[in-house]
């Protein structure tokens, strides 16, 4: 048996790959669920119901999908250009930090002006956080995987430092949390009496915008060319370093925006548990979407559904909700294999 590259991958196969991967992941994790002694089909039924079974469940899933779309886009944009940004978690917190600083009452603006300013501040903070490792990569040849990973820990400690110091809410009863953002900085709700906020609209808009940039502009063309073969791109006269740094700003910015939107749309203030690993899940989202900006939306909805559904399921059954994290990790590994099968065909001999 050997693998032989396909000359081109039909669209049906590209769409089938993530579906197959998800089915395989569900089947593998069924073994774990069965091991807990819970009835597998009933458990998955409850998970599905908890994710999309009611109006409330649906809005919760959409709310959870909002940061995942943004961190998914952050990973997709970076991975496209072969910039291995594993630091979206840290960039997200930097964006959230910028949001509580800028949106915390230091600017006295109306909502229509303040919200864009806060969002752009979040993007800038996230972008600059990734710019550092990207500069180290292009200037000194330092592998960005390790530096972005290590920065996640530094950023979390920085947030912890500020939440216990300069940014600590005097009304917070001693909890390490920031003061809430100004009312004018809060993102409007999309559906009344739910947690669903305008961050979803921003995320959806950005994924369409990025798709247009990717397919219709020189920028997108350069990004793809540099990702596919940096030496050939340089030989063709493309500014490889500039493309790298531009991609870093964009990728970090998207992750930073995820943090700012979580603060201004959902929580209202910053704590150390703002993100249950959105930065890392974003990588899975991007891979399931095969780095396609529109595909990211679908993948983020799926991952969000798993998390929201697993929470509901684990309340009714003795299955720990960490099953969601196992499912997400298994989906990523299955997707890698499925992607391979879509790009290659198996030949005998």
């Amino acid at each position: 048996m050997r693998l032989e590259p396909r000359t081109d991958t039909p669209l049906a196969l590209r769409l089938l790959a993530p579906v197959g991967a998800v089915v395989a992941a569900l089947a593998l994790c069924a073994l774990l669920v069965a091991w807990t002694g819970a009835p597998v089909l009933r458990a998955y039924g409850l998970l599905f119901e908890g994710a999309v079974g009611s109006r409330f469940a649906l809005t919760e899933t959409l709310t959870r999908a909002t940061p995942l779309i943004l961190t998914g886009l952050a990973a997709a944009v970076a991975f496209r250009a072969k910039l291995w940004n594993i630091g979206a978690e840290g960039q997200l917190y930097m964006g959230a930090l910028a949001a509580v600083v800028v949106g915390g009452g230091m600017l006295d603006l109306a909502a229509w002006a303040l919200i864009p300013v806060v969002m752009i501040a979040g993007m800038a903070a996230g972008g600059v956080t990734l710019l550092g490792p990207a500069m180290l990569k292009v200037r000194f040849g330092v592998d960005e995987v390790v530096t972005t990973l290590l920065l996640n820990f530094v950023v979390l400690l920085l947030v912890s430092l500020l939440l216990e110091g300069a940014l600590k809410d005097p009304m917070g009863m001693g909890w390490p949390q920031s003061a809430p953002v100004a009312e004018a900085a809060e993102l409007p709700k999309l559906v009344a009496r739910t947690r669903l906020h305008a961050g979803l609209a921003i995320a959806l808009g950005l994924s369409v915008l990025l798709w247009l940039i990717d397919t219709r502009t020189i920028w997108g063309y350069e990004n793809r060319a540099v990702g596919a073969n940096p030496r050939a791109a340089a030989f063709a006269g493309m500014p490889v370093t500039r493309v790298m740094l531009r991609t870093a700003l964009l990728s970090g910015g998207l992750a930073g925006l995820a943090g700012a939107a979580e603060v201004c749309g959902l929580k209202g203030y910053l704590t150390l548990d703002l993100s249950p690993g959105f930065g890392y899940s974003g990588i899975v989202v991007a891979m399931l979407a095969q780095l396609h900006p529109i595909g990211v939306v679908g993948a983020a909805l799926f991952i969000a559904g798993i998390f929201v559904g697993a929470d509901a399921m684990s309340r009714a059954m003795p299955v720990p909700n960490y099953i969601a994290d196992v499912l997400v990790a298994t989906s990523l590994l299955c997707m890698l294999v499925a992607g391979l099968l879509a790009r290659y065909r198996l030949r005998r001999g």
Binding site: L3, L32, T36, F79, W84, I86, L136, F140, G141, V142, D143, V145, V146, T147, L149, L150, L151, N152, F153, V154, L157, L158, S160, L161, E164, G165, Y280, I283, V284, M287, P318, V319, P320, Y322, I323, D325, V326, V328, A329, T330, L332, L333, L336, V337, L340
Partner: protein
């Protein structure tokens, strides 16, 4: 002067050096494990998850009544299994070592938490086990057996890598797999073997945390140690001896920041001290990046007959 004399006092105390050796142990084991994988040409970003699973599995085995060494073996076996998964995906299938590694880390971490919560649904304070006790060897600072084992393993790995045919084969598939193939070596098998062995070592680093350094399993207890090991491998130029030196140097700084944190009496926020290990690792990478001599075939999948 006051600051300098504080540092001098710390550096001259035996307790400090005992702590250094203890802190260095997981870094020594993790760095050795990553080094073995990378010498064979496979980057293993699964290290963080493998260490977490090793920590959980080793502790869980002992908690369920096994003796400590059985716990260590259980951890190594679990690490080897995750290593086999990483190797199966990256070596014969040639998938991206970056993304697969992240996937293995996510899987190892989530599986550990899942199993821990399943067995102990309502443990608010983590239950404890009786850990390894320090053992006084003549002429050495009293350490637990796993620390002695870690230092012994540095010598073993160095010997195997540089003085045996197996080690030569491992280095060869990491430098020039086509040439290794021409010599009649099975590149795929050697790479898989190296990743499995290296991953078992990483899991030992995790088991040290729950069975020696502490006596319980906590969430997030590995806390980036795996990523620091990856930086240490680069810092050590992929040499076991230098890896030991790097891990010790790193542990000196880590132990020093802990002591200084206590000595500073809360003048500076403690988070600043906790950031030091991560910032130090980044600094180390920047310092050596220019003259780093990577194994030539690191991160390049090998398919027979393809050029």
């Amino acid at each position: 002067m006051d600051f300098l004399s504080t540092i001098l006092d710390i550096l001259l105390s035996a307790a400090f050096w005992t702590a250094v050796l203890r802190i260095a142990t997981p870094y020594v084991l993790g760095t050795l494990g990553e080094l073995v994988c990378e010498r064979a040409g496979v980057l293993n970003l699964g290290i963080e998850g493998i260490m977490t699973l090793g920590a959980m599995a080793g502790w869980m085995a002992v908690y369920q009544g096994a003796d400590l060494w059985t716990g260590v073996l259980a951890a190594a076996a679990c690490g080897a299994l995750l290593g086999l998964l990483h190797a199966a995906l990256t070596v014969p299938l040639g998938l991206s070592q970056h993304v697969t590694g992240i996937g293995v880390t996510l899987l190892g971490t989530s599986l550990s938490y899942f199993v821990y919560r399943l067995v102990l649904p309502q443990a608010s304070t983590p239950p404890t086990v009786e850990p390894f006790q320090p053992l006084a060897l003549p002429g050495a600072l009293a350490q637990t057996p796993l620390t002695y084992l870690a230092f012994l393993l540095v010598a073993v790995v160095a010997y195997v890598l540089y003085r045996t045919p197996v080690g030569l084969a491992v280095r060869m598939v990491g430098e020039n797999p086509a040439a290794a193939e021409a010599q009649g070596l099975n590149v795929t098998a050697i790479r898989i073997g190296a990743v499995v062995a290296g991953s078992a070592l990483m899991a030992l680093a995790g088991a040290f945390l729950t069975l020696s350094a502490f006596n319980a399993f906590f969430f997030n207890m590995v806390n980036g140690r795996g990523w620091i090991c990856i930086a240490l491998v680069v810092f050590a130029s992929w040499r076991p001896g230098k890896a030991l030196l790097g891990a010790l140097l790193f542990a000196v700084f880590d132990a020093l920041q802990l002591r200084l944190q206590q000595a500073s009496g809360g003048v500076l926020p403690y988070q600043l001290f906790l950031m030091m290990p991560y910032l130090l690792s980044i600094l180390a990478l920047v310092l050596v990046a220019r003259r780093a001599s990577y194994p030539r075939a690191l991160m390049i999948p090998y398919r027979k007959g393809e050029r």
